[in-house]
Homo-oligomer: 236 residues x 2
Amino acid sequence: MRDRTKHYKQALYDHLKVSVLTLALRPGDDIDEAVFAETFGLSRTPLREVLRELAGEGYLELRAGRGARVTEMSYTTLRDFFLAAPMIYGAILRLAAQNATAEQIKSLKAAQSKFKKSLRSGSAADRTLANNQFHEITGEMAGNIFLLAAFNRLLIDHARIGMTFYRPQNSQMADNLSAASSHHDDIISAIEAQNDDAAAQLAEAHWNLSRNQIELFVMPSALDIALGTALQQTSA
Amino acid sequence: MRDRTKHYKQALYDHLKVSVLTLALRPGDDIDEAVFAETFGLSRTPLREVLRELAGEGYLELRAGRGARVTEMSYTTLRDFFLAAPMIYGAILRLAAQNATAEQIKSLKAAQSKFKKSLRSGSAADRTLANNQFHEITGEMAGNIFLLAAFNRLLIDHARIGMTFYRPQNSQMADNLSAASSHHDDIISAIEAQNDDAAAQLAEAHWNLSRNQIELFVMPSALDIALGTALQQTSA
DNA sequence: AAAATATAGTTTGTATACAAAGAAGATATC
DNA sequence: GATATCTTCTTTGTATACAAACTATATTTT
């Protein structure tokens, strides 16, 4: 009976995490305790403990007297993100290159092949989760608990930003995705070669790609240009 | 009645935080739910929620089926700390210099005068808490939620390292403390002048001081030197 | 008709009781 | 005397019930 609820608790935990990362639960969404408790066969007591833990990790926000909500995202968040990401990610990849074990490199390669597969046939959610797993493994490789605290929070919004802005509806966005994929390959090579300088540089390139992607989405070619020109530009 | 327990909950939260920072609760110490619940006039349900929150912030660690413990510290932690601290703290102070409001600068000055006061007359715990508050305010000034996640975790171990290694039993350690205090003054000036480069450089100097302090403590002048010489060296 | 108050309904938060797991000590067996 | 097993005690984890707070709707009053 203890094992059963423990399992249910884990299932709830995983479900909420995935839901937040893939935007199945959107920023600001309320978490209805009663509904989730019944759905996962738990009473509210252990459910609330899970919510507390997820709040601690940055997935949820607790408001006194008002229950839990999915952590909000604003353009301030976006700004904070791109200010911190290159630095943290650079540090993580540098340390990953220095410290990765053979076993970890193996999991990283497995994550990457899963990511590639998701590019060919998966949904946006599949791709986001595969990408998330890839980066999570680099975090483990680095193994610095202080940086990991920032990094894991970055990964949450990394996934949500990816779900929002990476929609390969035109060829340029698709190109960006395959560029991201080859970055992953390069990252693996750098880590395998213990080349920490190269790994750190790749981190920056990887985030610049993301930034460009968001620029494409948020600031598309303006409509006051002749339409033919704009279309040519986006499909280039 | 709701207000009452809310107050007790906050008191427990604050007490645990301070106890961890000042080593009143030492790394690895067990948190006895029954004892704390009775002491703070709470039942175990809200108490356990507080423990979850503190675990999320890095003060405690939860072990399944074994309750909560104060987060452990090893020399790996120390290494991780000095690897991450200069970078994170540099970034925090840079952003603080860019973004600090007049009101925040006022609180920072208040925290600094409290810190100075604790140097003259306070206990090691008072000094540690005052120092902690000073740095916490710089974190608020920076206002980047991703960096803050790493920074607040660093501050926990910063305090604990300070409690362990900063014991001004000889004049050199006392000198280090007054150097730390004047660093704080310089940091305030840099932030007030919105000089982010200066602020970032001060961060590095501040951590180098800490590192020297720990070297002094962990690697004292060896006893195989003639004793007279060693004593002269430490009291210089 | 608009505003204010009252009332029902929903949701959050806490206490208590119980069940399960773990720890420690005692007895028994080799 | 040492090891192993059984029993008791302590501690952790969960469910349920209840109380308080908040929300929304309806009724009343101006």
